[in-house]
Amino acid sequence: MANVPLLELDRLSKSFRREHTESLILEEISLKVADGDFVAIVGPSGVGKSTLLRLMAGLTQPTKGRVLFEGRELRGVNGDSALVFQSFALFPWLTVEQNVRLGLEARGIDPSAAKSRVAYYLDKVGLDGHEEAYPRELSGGMKQRVGLARALAVEPKLLLMDEPFSALDALTSVSLREELLEIWSDSSLPVNTVVLVTHLIEEAVELADRVVVIAGSPGRVRDDLRIELPRPRQKNSAAFNEIVDRVFSLIV
């Protein structure tokens, strides 16, 4: 099993039908994500990044090619993955605690186990003290922590994040990126593999082990760079800027 990647996209293509024409969005995407990897997918808006993430989650099916999870072809929703969205997607009529717990009961976890699990993950994302708050009482950063706790609480093997910090102000996103790295590197947590979609190159280079560049129309893998910079990464260093420039040149 050691050589089987956690996730593999095998010559995957996706097209959408618009009125009477098929338009090809992604073409021949092949990609392997190993257990423990932090992969960032970057590319211009509209290139198909969100679609790619939905394919990994099994929320939409490929037109051609296959998605393999732990070596098995994925048919239907990927129950070992959890998604975090840019828009938070919280239920406004539920408290923080209830929003995180909801997903668990849907997965058949009994109420008392769910309760302690929710408390555990609220603590992990720094939301202790916010249990009884409603989403409208929270800042964007706090809402996104709820989204993250909800994803973590299902204890997925793969955490999928779609532009999770794009709706936040600069300082809030600085904090949340750091917290995400802390969670990713916390070996006591079940999830240690992350695929994060972003259009911010600096964010990708700061966070990921690998940056996969999707570009063109239809979108193809333009490059797949391993980021060897030691952590914590010095955002203003020459080595950092060099990689950012290189990725930038691949996109434009």
Binding site: D123, G126, M142, E155, A170, T172, S175
Partner: protein, 192 residues
């Protein structure tokens, strides 16, 4: 009683500022920092003010300088960050006032409107709703105060048991009995 108003800013942004400062070598020019963050200087001011009230930075001249405690926060894990913020908040006169105010109530909770009235008396120059909003945000982060929309009451967080860990290891949450302490024990995994 003299109490300074809390600036209208969240703790998350303050922590972000500390990280940015640390990356910039502990010191930055406020104007340039605002430019770098693509923020209006006026929007950065409450963040600086908040960080300074908590003793995480100093702002000599037009600069902002990370203080040793601020650096400690940057390097700390999440729960230690929270514990330090809580410690610092508990030194603020306004926070102390409401901690005491609520402790004197048998239920450790009052209607939100009572807090607004107190705020209007304590700091007549500030908008009480805005100040209340920040007091609650900071209070929730530091696990000092909370508010239940369902009861309409602002309360003292008596679960508040977080202490800065003295030794490395999982942050303790002081519930003494082993079995019923949901904050510390890893839940059983349901993954087969």
């Amino acid at each position: 009683m003299f109490a300074e108003p809390l600036p209208t800013v969240g703790i998350t942004e303050i922590l972000g500022l500390l990280k940015v400062l640390d990356d910039a070598g502990s010191r930055a020019d406020v104007y340039r920092l605002a430019q770098q963050l693509q923020l209006d200087t006026a929007a950065l001011l409450p963040v600086l003010r908040g960080a300074e009230m908590l003793s995480f930075v100093h702002t000599p001249g037009g600069d902002v300088v990370l203080q040793p405690l601020g650096k400690q926060v940057v390097d700390a894990d999440m729960n230690t960050k929270k514990a330090i913020v809580k410690e610092q908040m508990e030194k603020l006169p306004l926070v102390r006032f409401f901690m005491e105010f609520l402790s004197n109530h048998p239920e450790k909770a009052v209607e939100k409107s009572e807090i607004l009235e107190e705020l209007a008396i304590l700091i007549p120059s500030a908008d009480p709703e805005e100040l209340y909003g920040t007091l609650l945000k900071w209070g929730r982060y530091g696990e000092i105060f909370g508010f239940s929309y369902d009861t309409g009451r602002f309360f003292l967080n008596t679960r508040g048991r977080r202490r800065r860990p003295t030794s490395p290891g999982p942050s303790e949450s002081g519930a003494p009995s082993g079995s019923a302490s949901p904050g510390i024990e890893p839940p059983e995994s349901s993954n087969p």
